[in-house]
Structures are given as C-alpha cells and as structure tokens.
C-alpha cells in the first residue's frame, strides 16, 4: 500500500478518529490524554509539511475519496495555497497543544478535560478539512464541524459571560453557514456541479446570470462573517476574550485565518479575477471594507482595558490587512496578504499565549495590573514585547514583512492612498501596544499583599512553568526568525499568489 498517496486523507482522518478515542483514553488515564493529543497534532504537522514539500516538487495533488473521479466524487486538493495554510494551522495547533497541558489543567474542570480535548481535536479536524477540500459542499460540512466545536470550546471558558458569547457566536455563525449553504445551492442550480475546479470551468459562461451573482453575494457575506470582516465582527471580541486561553489563541491564529482562506478560495478559485473585477465591483467593496476594518479595528482596540479583549479587537484590523492585499489585486500585494496569514497567526498566538500565562500565574486580566511585570515574568514579557513589536510592524519582525509587501503592492497598483492607511494603523497599533510595554517595564510594581507572598519581594522572578513559557518563546522567536528569513515562506506564498490571480 502506498501511504504517501493517501496523505491528503490521513491528515484529516487521523485527528478525526483520535477524537473518538480521547474520551475512552480519558477513562483509563486522564493525564495521558494531553500527550496523545500532542502526538496526533505533531503527526498532522509532519504530514502537512510533507504534503507541502510534495507540492513544491511535483505540483498540485488531487486525492479522490473512495476512488470516485471528480467532479462526481469528493476531491481533496493540496496546492501551494492550501498546503501553506494547512502547515500554518497544524503548526499552530501543535505548539498550542504543548502549551495547553498546564493551562487546561488550571482552566478546565478535571473531569471535563477528556471531553475538552475530544472537541479540540474535532475543531482542528474541521479547520484542516476546510483548507484541504476541493468540494464546495464538503467545505460547508467542515465549516460546520469547526464552528460547532468552537461554540462548545468557547462555552467552556471560566466566566459566565463565555456562555452568552458562545450563544451569540452560535446564532451569527449559523446565519453565516446557512448563507454559505444558500450560495452553494445557487451555484448548484446554475451549474449542476459541486467540485470547485469544475465550477470554475463552468461558471464563466454563466457570469451574466442573476443566480450566479446571488450565489456570490451569499458566499461573500457568509464567509466575511466567519472571518469577522468589519462590520460583521460583533461576535468576535466576546467569543475570543471569554474562551479558555488555549482556545483564544487557536481561534485567533487558526480559525480566523481559515475563514480568510475560504473567502480567498471561493472568490479567486471558484469565481475568478475576471468576475470580481469586471462583472461585480467586488474588489472595490473589499478595498473599502478592508480600509474601514484596519482603521476602525485599531481605534476600537485602543479603547480596551482588558488584555484578552484588546488582543481580540486587534484581530479585526489585522484581518483587514489580509483582505486589503487581496483587494489590491496584484501578485505583490497578494503575497503580502497571504504571508500575513502566517505572520498574524504567529504573533497573535504568541500574544494570546502570553495573556494565558499571565492569567495562569497571577489571575490578572487588566492592563493596569501588569505594572512591574517585566521583572516578575521576564521570559513571558520578552515574548510579549516581540509579539507587540511585530504587530506594530517594526523592521526585522514578521509584521514588517507583510506590511512591506502590502505597501509595495499598493504603490505598484497606483493606490498611493493605501500607504497612509497602513502608516496610520501602525501608529495606532503602536499606541495600544506601547501602552502595555510601558506598563510592563517602566511602571513600578505596587507593593500590595498579593506580591508579598513571593518572599516579600515584588521583583522576584516567577515565570510561568516551562511547559507554557517554552512554546510561547518558540512562537515569539519565529516572529523574529521569519522576519529575517522571510524568503522561506515568501517563495511558497508567491507561487500561491500567482496561482490565485491566474493569468495576471
């Protein structure tokens, strides 16, 4: 049997099956569950890497489920774009799994840990399925798998507000998914096909049809809601800030990115550049929405005082960058947009993991509580500083790379007015990030009783356990390494950008 030929299905099947076994394993030995999850996510990461390298050597991989030929059967497709996003998602979920052991023990009831990890695996399966599938109805099914498990995971947050956040997300998420389902229905009505590659061949002849245009509108609204594109972001701050720390990191770093991926995939692969540029004025609408998202997202973030809530709000602006690059519509800006999928995943997960470590060690949630934290949790705060600098887009960090590509792409497209937007948003980001950095390093710690427990010194080093600090530092150092060695992801992403833009 040829294992390598079956890797595209294994990357989905292994986490899916393991999700069933986790509750059973939890009955036998609860502490083994985390190691099991860790090994499964590591395996998924290895498979993703090998799939990506196979794509780079031999091109697009098409896998036929059950041997049924597309367009009749379900097809799984790994190309530059899906291979890249698959690697990002599986890497982040692997790192977060390492971190999760200590964090989950603290935040989730002991008896619920196996159930938590079971849903956690389903969530990752759903996300990876969205990325790898080449069938549009299968996309809907995976969107629902990841969404339903996300609702449950958010509701496992410690606060009461997590329940309400989860409920609101459920209502909005279901509206979004139903819109996507309607879009699929309209496309099927017009073409009689569900395979993405087949659809993109059949659709150009039907671009004048109202049915196809309606389908496009349903898809864009549904998927924009999923990726929290401003002004459809209202569910995001509550959901991301009340979820358990581990889940906040995964939601921001993986789930949003996968939403953006699905939008790009549908807009540029199922529909084409020609459609969004000439038939409907979609790129213009996206450009306006992206600019609004970037500015409004940054302004809303400044008003926040809770750390996790601030990080959640800042995702709104960052998702704007991803759409901005796609809306400018040239290969360089598109590269910036796709590389931002990786970069934002790295920096936002770093920041959320730091917030989780602070919560684990001190229970502090407000920015004002962080005074003097730079001396108490030096490694964690170093990771935070790197993540924050990267968010601002300081040179030599990953944030700079994506902003650089976006700016150059905008100049090439004669859209000079994008540059002030990027600069203004970097400035606003600097305002909200610097406020925290200042509190951490330059404000004296209050001499209150909670600090006295540590030998009476407020400056005693008391970092989070290594199981939490090391994964955070790995992500933070990648923010720097991939800022220097940006050519590694850029080579992959450039091919993906050229593929999305087709003939351009």
């Amino acid at each position: 049997m040829n294992i390598a030929g079956h890797l595209p299905i294994l990357v989905i099947i292994i986490p899916l099956i393991s999700a069933v076994f986790i509750p059973l394993l939890g009955r036998i030995n609860r502490s083994a569950v985390c190691y099991f999850v860790l090994s499964v996510t590591f395996l998924s990461f290895l498979i993703s890497i090998s799939l990506l390298s196979m794509v780079m050597t031999s091109g697009r991989i098409s896998y036929r489920l059950g041997g049924w030929e597309p367009p009749w059967g379900i097809e799984y497709v790994v190309d530059y774009l899906s291979g890249f996003v698959l690697t990002v998602v599986s890497f982040i979920s692997f790192i977060v799994s390492i971190y999760s052991k200590r964090s989950v023990e603290k935040e989730i009831d002991g008896s619920k840990i196996p159930a938590f990890y079971c849903i956690y695996m389903l969530f990752i399966t759903g996300l990876m399925g969205i990325v790898i599938t080449g069938d549009i109805f299968n996309l809907y099914v995976f969107i629902e798998i990841s969404a339903l498990s996300a609702y449950v995971l958010i509701a496992m947050g410690k606060k009461k507000a997590a329940l309400l956040a989860s409920y609101n997300y459920l209502i909005l998420g279901t509206i979004a998914a139903t819109f996507i389902l309607l879009g699929i229905g309209h496309l099927y009505m017009a073409t009689g096909s569900l395979n993405m590659a087949d659809l993109s061949k059949r659709l150009p002849a039907l671009y004048g049809s109202h049915v196809v245009r309606t389908a496009f509108v349903f898809f864009t609204i549904g998927l924009s809601l999923k990726m929290a594109l401003y002004p459809l972001h209202i569910w995001l701050p509550d959901a991301h800030s009340t979820a358990p720390s581990v889940i906040s990191a995964l939601l921001a770093a993986a789930a949003l990115k996968v939403g953006a991926y699905a939008l790009l995939r549908v807009v540029f692969t199922v529909f084409t550049v020609d459609f969004v540029q000439n038939v409907v004025p979609a790129t213009k609408v996206f450009l306006v929405l992206a600019v609004l998202a970037i500015i409004a997202g940054s302004v809303l973030t400044i008003a926040q005082t809770n750390i996790k809530r601030m990080l959640a709000y800042s995702s709104i602006g960052q998702m704007g960058y991803i759409i901005l690059g796609a809306a400018i519509m040239n290969p360089i800006a598109m590269t910036g947009s796709l590389i931002h999928i990786l970069n934002h995943a790295l920096m936002k997960s770093t920041l959320f993991l730091v917030a989780g470590s602070i919560l684990y060690k001190t229970g502090i949630e407000d920015i004002s509580g962080l005074k003097g934290m730079g001396k108490r949790m030096p490694y964690t705060m170093a990771a935070f500083t790197i993540g924050a600098l990267s968010m601002i887009g300081a040179p030599l960090t990953v944030g700079f790379v994506s902003k650089w590509y976006l700016a150059i792409g905008a100049l090439r497209a004669n859209m000079w007015y994008i540059i002030p937007v990027i600069l203004l948003s970097s400035l606003l980001t600097a305002v909200y990030c610097w406020r925290i950095i200042e509190t951490i390093y330059f404000h004296k710690a209050p001499e209150d009783e909670s600090m006295m427990t540590y030998n009476g010194h407020s400056t005693v080093v008391n970092d989070a356990p290594a199981g939490m600090t090391v994964p955070t530092l790995v992500l933070a150092s990648l923010c720097i390494v991939l800022g220097f060695a940006a050519f590694i992801p850029v080579t992959v992403v450039t091919s993906a950008a050229n593929m999305l833009l087709g003939a351009n």
């Binding site: 509701a155 329940l163 459920l170 209502i171 279901t174 309607l182 229905g185 099927y188």
Partner: protein, 118 residues
C-alpha cells in the same frame, strides 16, 4: 406576473419562511424563541434545495423501478447532511441555553444584557 407568483410559489414560501426565521432571530428577546427562529431559517433552506431538485412529472429516482423521468436525488442527499447539521446546532444551542439559565437565572436577552453590564 401571475406566472412569476404562482408558478414559483415554493420559492416564495422559502423566502417568506427564511425572513420569518431571520426576524425571530433578530427581534425576539427569549433565547429559546431565537433558536426556533434559527430552525425555521434553516428549514427554509431545505425547502429551497428540494424545490430545486424537482423535475416536472418526475418520480423518486429508483433504479429498478420504471423511473424514466425522475427528480434530481443529489440535493435531497445534501439536505440529509443539512438536517444533521441543523439538529446538532439545535442541540448545542439548547444545551447552552440550559447552562445560561443555570448561571443567570433568566433567558430573556434584555435582562441578561443588564446583568452583563454590572
């Protein structure tokens, strides 16, 4: 005009159902009523798919019978998946409402929002 209204009546029903569900989700304060709205909203989509599959004079697509003209079975099977998704969403939503009731003692949205502010 009459043809547009009467000839495609199932599409009109689907759109009205969808709007009723949508309205309930937005306007109702009671969390359970919102879920009922959600269900109507999803059911409307099933009707849309089933209407689309209908072939005039078609019967059930049975291989061994004498089904010469038959309805398109694919939307039907898609909607089986749709029903499963809808049921699971309802289950999760109802479970959440139970927990919200236990935590807050109410399922009226305006009261919940008041409590959230404190």
């Amino acid at each position: 005009m009459i043809e547009l209204i009467l000839g495609k009546y199932n599409y009109w029903i689907y759109i009205s159902l969808m709007m009723i569900g949508f309205y309930a989700m937005i306007a109702k304060e009671n969390l359970i009523k919102k879920i009922i709205g959600l269900n109507i909203f999803q059911t409307a989509v099933f009707l849309f798919y089933i209407s689309m599959a209908k072939v005039e004079g078609g019967t059930a697509p049975i291989l061994w019978g004498k089904a010469v003209i038959y309805d398109n079975p694919l939307p039907h099977t898609l909607m089986l998946t749709g029903i499963v998704v809808s049921v699971s969403t309802t289950a999760v939503a109802l479970a959440l409402v139970i927990r919200i009731y236990k935590a807050y003692g109410t399922i009226e949205e305006d009261k919940l929002l008041e409590m959230g502010d404190k």
